[in-house]
């Protein structure tokens, strides 16, 4: 499985995730959240930023079911779901992830028929600090 190849802007997201916290970069001056993280605020051009804690609730905005050809670790689990989740705390912040049966479960651990646009999900974290999503009403 691929691990995130982080950069200076993204590194805080991943270190918070390893602590079980979902945090999103926001401007310290105008307050606008932004994703993906970047050096300065596109609204007010401030370089001051903070990492704002999210409750971790969201809704599925869209999803796909990849089939082979895929990298071997992913092909072995295909077809699996990949979702884009729109955060309840910050509706324009959307995170790519997987809906799983429980934290750390396989990418194909939830039947594809259960995935639908608009479904409520809650963030969980793997042991390695990768955010995943579980259905709030399984």
């Amino acid at each position: 499985m691929l691990s995130p190849v982080t950069d200076a802007d993204g590194a805080p997201f991943w270190s918070y995730a390893r602590q079980g916290e979902l945090r999103v970069q926001a401007c310290s001056d105008c307050g606008e959240p932004r994703f993906p993280p970047r050096p300065c605020c596109p609204h007010c051009q401030s370089f001051a930023a903070e990492w704002r804690r999210m409750e971790g609730h969201g809704r599925i905005w869209s999803y796909v079911l990849p089939h082979p050809p895929l990298l071997p670790d992913y092909a072995e689990q295909a077809p699996y779901n990949v979702v884009v989740v729109e955060l309840a705390d910050a509706p324009r912040i959307r995170l790519v992830g997987n809906v799983v049966a429980e934290a750390g479960a396989r990418l194909d651990s939830v039947a594809p028929e259960r995935i639908r646009i608009g479904a409520r999900v809650q963030v969980v974290f793997t042991e390695d600090g990768l955010p995943q999503w579980v259905l709030e009403r399984p």
């Binding site: 691929l2 991943w14 905005w61 869209s62 089939h67 324009r92």
Partner: protein, 382 residues
């Protein structure tokens, strides 16, 4: 006011055969396509002084120039973002020639995507942004990234798989008329489409472009010189690149309106500088790495309103005789996938009147580069 409107013309086009596997390497294929285009134009290689290609092009200017015998080059540029750069190569040459930086320009693309590796399998060259936010979760390939937008598009606007099939079918029907197309002898039926294997649901095999070895090139000169050339000039009427505010490439999930993209930005400039409107376009060559890019582009370039791109494809609108004949050589879906350069050359053929699926009296053609990445587009006229 000076500008590029009708100031330059494409006077030569050339290409190699297209196939899943060609024996020759990319450099040799590039040389063959460029020399074929110059021969078509009746211009000697020594007269070329400008080049434009893609940043992903592996044959660089030095290699090409010394092999085919170019003279002194005074302008050379490369455009980024893969297939988003196709039309921009021509646009850069048009700007260079119109502004006096060069006189004879060649644009080209040579690629062995058919027999070479799939780019997404090389995980060591993934840039941290945005790949860190997508790849670990198994969103690995361009098809997965565009499928995500496609699902949302279908959900918001009621577009269906039949609409995507209409796109695939129109391209295949044109390829069935084009002996140079990879899919020349391979008809497509609705049953084949609906029962095809998935690649990334909701996209199936036939929603994805071909994997092709091949190369193409075209030659650009000033309108004045074009009148003395061997071929009927095809004028560059308007050209634009497009990178809209807060755009994120194929993973355009992180702005207020992810279902509008670079096409909208390119279109605003393109039409602003044109003497005609979408209603006046006789034939379109729209970048089709995936079928779903067509309804999005139809909306972006103003052929229909938001959300109507799927319905636009109904009742044979994209076929010969329809409202907007599409990708008349077969496109990336059924002729060849060479980062959209075959769409440029097919646009030229239509306006010369020499297409294998000729639109009667075609006088205006829209050619677009990849939607879903920073893009570019051309309005061509005869």
């Amino acid at each position: 006011m000076g500008g590029i409107k009708d100031a330059t013309a494409i006077v030569g086009i050339g290409q190699t055969p297209f196939a899943k596997h060609l024996e020759e390497d990319e450099r040799t294929l590039a040389c063959r396509a460029v020399l074929a285009a110059l021969d078509d134009a009746g211009i000697a290689p020594g007269e070329v002084d400008a080049l434009a290609s893609y940043t992903m092009e592996e044959t660089d200017e030095v290699e090409l120039a010394k092999a085919v015998g170019f003279g002194d080059l005074t302008f050379f540029s490369k455009v980024g973002y893969g297939g988003g750069g196709s039309c921009a190569t021509v646009a850069h040459l048009a700007a260079a020639i119109a502004s006096g930086q060069a006189t004879v320009g060649v644009a080209w693309r040579s690629r062995k995507r058919g027999s070479g590796p799939r780019p997404w399998t090389n995980t060591t060259v993934q840039l941290p942004t945005p790949a860190q936010w997508t790849r670990p979760f198994g969103l690995l390939r361009p098809t997965d990234e565009i499928a995500m937008l496609t699902r949302r598009y279908m959900h918001e606007y009621g577009a269906t798989r039949d609409h995507l099939f209409n796109v695939a079918l129109a391209c295949r029907n044109r390829a069935n008329q084009n002996p140079a197309a990879v899919m020349y002898e391979r008809p497509l039926t609705r049953e084949m489409y609906m029962t095809a294997r998935w690649i990334s649901e909701p996209l199936c095999l036939f929603d994805n472009c071909l994997e092709t070895d091949g190369a193409l090139a075209c030659v650009l000169v000033s309108a004045e010189r074009a009148r003395d050339c061997r071929q009927t000039p095809v004028y560059v009427h308007s050209a634009a690149q497009g990178l809209p505010a807060q755009h994120h490439g194929m993973v355009n999930y992180w702005n207020d309106d992810p279902l509008t993209g670079p096409a909208w930005a390119a279109a605003r400039h393109l039409w602003k500088h044109a003497d005609f409107t979408p209603q006046d376009v006789d034939v379109a060559q729209i970048y089709d790495a995936f079928t779903a890019l067509i309804p999005l582009s139809l909306e972006g370039y103003g052929f229909c309103a938001r959300g109507e791109g799927g319905a636009f494809t109904e009742q044979g609108a994209l076929e010969i005789g329809g409202r907007l004949p599409l990708n008349t050589g077969g496109g990336g879906l059924s002729e060849a996938y060479v980062h959209g350069f075959n769409l440029v050359n097919e646009g030229v053929r239509q306006l010369r009147g020499t297409s294998t699926a000729q639109v009667p009296d075609a006088a205006t053609c829209l050619v677009t580069a990849g939607e879903g990445v920073p893009t570019s587009a051309l309005l061509l006229r005869s």
